[in-house]
């Protein structure tokens, strides 16, 4: 299933989120089971299957990470739900540094927020890099997959910072 074509959107990593939301609403109005509450059993079944695809497609396209995974799967490589360790020593070093820093500043709200800003900038960089990798038809799928794996880690790390900030808020 190509969710980009279901939502009538171009196959790119950078996506117009307004266009996505607007397509989603149009598709909901056409496929939601409530619109078929008095229709025949067959129409209800087809609508429900379509609507489940629409919901799944929306959740996949909404987030850049799952959108990237989906784009890669359209290029022929499926990497979601995998257990994979990265072999990039430079990135591993950075991960360790980040983790240490997070521990040191765990009760310093301003420092945590500063770090979050840095991480967000890093995510943006990675996404831009990924977007151009996707645009180049010559790109190697494994290279793209590795970039997505790094991104997965950085998103998780960003969530950890948020969780730490929430904890400080509770006091």
């Amino acid at each position: 299933m190509n969710y980009f074509s279901l939502f009538n959107l171009p196959e790119t990593l950078t996506l117009d989120t307004h266009a996505l939301a607007s397509s989603y609403q149009t598709l909901q109005k056409l496929t939601h089971p409530d619109k078929f509450a008095t229709a025949s059993a067959q129409e209800q079944r087809i609508a429900m299957q379509k609507n489940a695809q629409v919901n799944d497609g929306y959740s996949v396209l909404k987030h850049p990470l799952s959108r990237a995974q989906h784009l890669l799967s359209l290029r022929g490589l499926v990497i979601d739900h995998e257990q994979h360790t990265l072999g990039d020593p430079e990135f591993l070093m950075q991960q360790m540094e980040w983790r240490e820093t997070l521990e040191e500043i765990s009760s310093d709200e301003a420092a945590l927020e500063e770090m979050q800003t840095e991480i967000q900038a890093n995510i943006k960089d990675k996404l831009t890099g990924l977007a151009s990798l996707f645009e180049d038809e010559q790109s190697n799928n494994e290279d793209i997959a590795n970039e997505i794996r790094k991104l997965t880690f950085i998103y998780k790390f960003s969530a950890q910072i948020d969780a730490q900030l929430d904890k400080l808020d509770d006091f």
């Binding site: 056409l30 509450a37 129409e43 087809i46 959740s59």
Partner: protein, 619 residues
């Protein structure tokens, strides 16, 4: 013949005819039925003008009494008078007895769940609920003068799959076509019109006779999302009554034996006193017990003192629900009050103080859920074709499967918009293995023991292969009512694996079929006539929808496909004139098969057209 036929998918261009649809609040203490008349939702009262139907059924001498008369007889015949059966829906005997150890009923353990022995016959909670629903259906049909097209039935937001399935099964047994199961707090929010215009958080505070629920909803771009639910299944207005009785008997120094002998009378006086104090400041009265007169006066201040600890408990639950939803009280846009006990002034005050705003109380709190359900039923039945609003619901609890070591792997997380379908691949671990079992659970915890077991599926018919060679793709589908359906397929051979569903609680498909048959034997002709008519109506509906579809999209079919479909339709039209329910059913299925690809192509075309049209507008 109309000059121009414009039909939405799923809606035929037939002349506009108002469909009779109702909303039913199948409550723990009371149940109600409501419908939309002249654009306004209103409850349908009984012949004595009472909207409420106490959720009480008494089985006695081969007969059943439902509602007020059953409630009046409950004291003299507690064993055979089932009160608040909703508590038992989708539950096991152990769960029931752990929460309510002192129930007067005779429980009978069954293979799936529990039954109650009353009047010499065991009935499960689904059958008892069906008796209540049938009573409401009869009331609605008598008052509206025709058969119902369908019903929206409300369920608590936290109801799991087993409880929802049981509710739907009860409706099926009662001969009701369920348009949708709707969450109670969502229904209450709809009754207040909160689904149009505003966006933001809504708190629904529901204090009934014996239960308390708090739900935090988010309304965003036409999506009603349940963010969190909380409450107490054994705290309600009845506890206020008991607090008053305790206050009196302590003041009087009433002996335990006298208390016991007159407890029922004391409770009814307490209930009346509580209701009087909702409007007045004090009440002066006496009660005669065994020839002795006692002063049963009470003023508002004393009453407030008595119930403060109870109300505080509910406010605490509100705070926890907000925390679970990760929002704060000042973000809440509106607070909706549901349940008769929210008439108590102290409750309104405390809830208002906690959320920092006046709660919404203008609609009768006993009726608000049924009224919202009626509005939604009216839309779903197709009586408001211009309605743009959509209620998107979410899965209330995560669905997962058991993996090694008694752990649960989540397949579909909670708060996922439904309907949803997720596939998971399994493989065999032994050479030549032809069957495997999948245990499906619902809940947020990591251990199997901490989640609710929904069902065990046995997949059979897997082609024998070496270990790990078979790839079985199991698809979990949750429909718009939050109900789960599972299919499985072996990928390399395409063999459809058979699935045997063993629901952990509730009823298996065959049991429902059996019960329907049994109820038919009782009223044989009536039921058979009804089923024949239902099939004839369904046949007409299928044909009418297809004719409209062919008018519009004839070009989507090849000559051969068209000829085949046309022939199957003609045959169905003929068979539908005759008296065989089974034959009509069979030919509907043939038409269904012949038109399957056509229907899917039509859906795709309508999507393409709508999205292309939107793009033109955007430019």
């Amino acid at each position: 013949m109309a000059l121009l036929q414009i039909a939405e998918p799923g809606q035929s261009a037939a002349p506009h005819q108002r469909k009779l649809a109702v909303g039913i609040d199948l409550g723990t203490t009371n149940s109600l039925v409501a419908t939309v008349r002249s654009g306004q939702p209103q409850t349908l009262p009984d012949s004595e003008g009472r909207a409420l139907l106490p959720s009480v059924v008494r089985y006695h001498g081969g007969e059943k009494t439902i509602g007020y008369p059953a409630q009046a007889e409950a004291n003299q015949d507690p064993v055979n008078t089932i009160v608040s059966v909703k508590r038992f829906m989708g539950k096991s005997q152990d769960e029931i007895l752990a929460t309510w150890p002192n129930l007067p009923y005779h429980f009978v353990q069954q293979s799936h769940g529990v039954a109650l022995l009353a009047d010499g016959k065991s009935r499960n909670p689904v059958e008892i609920s069906a008796d209540i629903l049938r009573h409401l259906r009869d009331r609605a049909e008598a008052s509206l003068g025709d058969e119902l097209t369908g019903a929206v039935i409300t369920v608590p937001a936290y109801f799991d799959d087993a409880q929802r399935q049981s509710t739907k099964d009860a409706a099926k047994l009662a001969g009701l076509h369920v348009l949708r199961l709707l969450n109670e707090p969502t229904a209450a929010a709809i009754a207040y019109g909160l689904d149009s215009g505003q966006e933001g958080l809504i708190a629904v505070y529901d204090l009934g006779g014996g239960t308390f629920d708090i739900s935090i909803l988010r309304l965003h771009k036409g999506v009603f999302e349940v963010l969190s639910t909380g409450g107490n299944a054994s705290l309600g207005g009845d506890d206020f009554d008991h607090a008053i009785v305790h206050h009196w008997t302590t003041r009087w120094g009433l002996s335990e034996s006298l208390q016991k002998a007159h407890y029922r009378r004391l409770v009814s006086l307490a209930k009346a006193t509580k209701q009087a104090l909702s409007d007045g400041q004090s009440i002066t009265q006496t009660i005669e017990l065994d020839g002795q007169s006692f002063d049963a006066s009470l003023d508002r201040t004393a009453f407030d003192d008595l119930i403060t600890p109870l109300v505080k408990q509910t406010v605490k639950a509100c705070r926890r629900a907000l925390k679970d939803a990760e929002v704060s009280a000042d973000e809440v846009l509106a607070v909706v009050m549901v349940g008769g006990s929210t008439r108590v002034p102290l409750v309104r005050e405390q809830v208002g103080a906690f959320f920092g705003q006046e709660p919404l109380t203008s609609i009768d709190p006993d009726q608000v859920v049924a009224l919202g359900a009626a509005s939604q039923a009216d839309i779903l039945a197709g009586n408001k074709p211009d309605n743009e609003m959509l209620l998107l619901d979410v899965l209330p609890l995560s669905l997962g499967i058991e993996t090694m070591g008694g752990l649960v792997e989540k397949i579909i997380p909670r708060n996922t918009t439904i309907p949803v379908a997720k596939a998971q691949e399994f493989t065999t671990f032994k050479d030549g293995q032809t069957a495997m079992m999948v245990h499906v659970l619902q809940g947020e915890r990591e251990l199997v023991d901490d989640c609710r077991s929904l069902a065990k599926f046995t997949l059979t018919g897997i082609p024998p292969m070496t270990a790990g060679a078979a790839h079985i793709r199991v698809t979990f589908q949750v429909d718009a009512d939050g109900l789960l359906n599972v299919t499985a397929q072996e990928k390399s051979t395409g063999v459809q694996a058979e699935i045997q569903v063993k629901p952990s609680f509730g009823l298996a498909e065959e049991q429902i079929a059996q019960m329907l048959k049994a109820s038919m034997a009782n009223a044989k002709d009536d039921m058979q006539q009804r089923m024949l008519k239902e099939q004839q109506v369904e046949a007409a509906r299928v044909l009418e929808a297809l004719e409209a579809a062919l008018d519009e999209h004839r070009g989507l079919l090849s000559e051969e496909e068209f000829a085949q479909l046309r022939q199957s339709m003609d045959t169905l039209a003929q068979v539908a004139q005759e008296q065989s329910t089974d034959a009509i059913k069979e030919h509907i299925e043939i038409v269904d098969n012949a038109s399957q690809a056509f229907a899917a192509r039509r859906m795709d075309i309508s999507i393409q057209q709508a999205l292309a049209g939107k793009q033109v507008q955007d430019i």
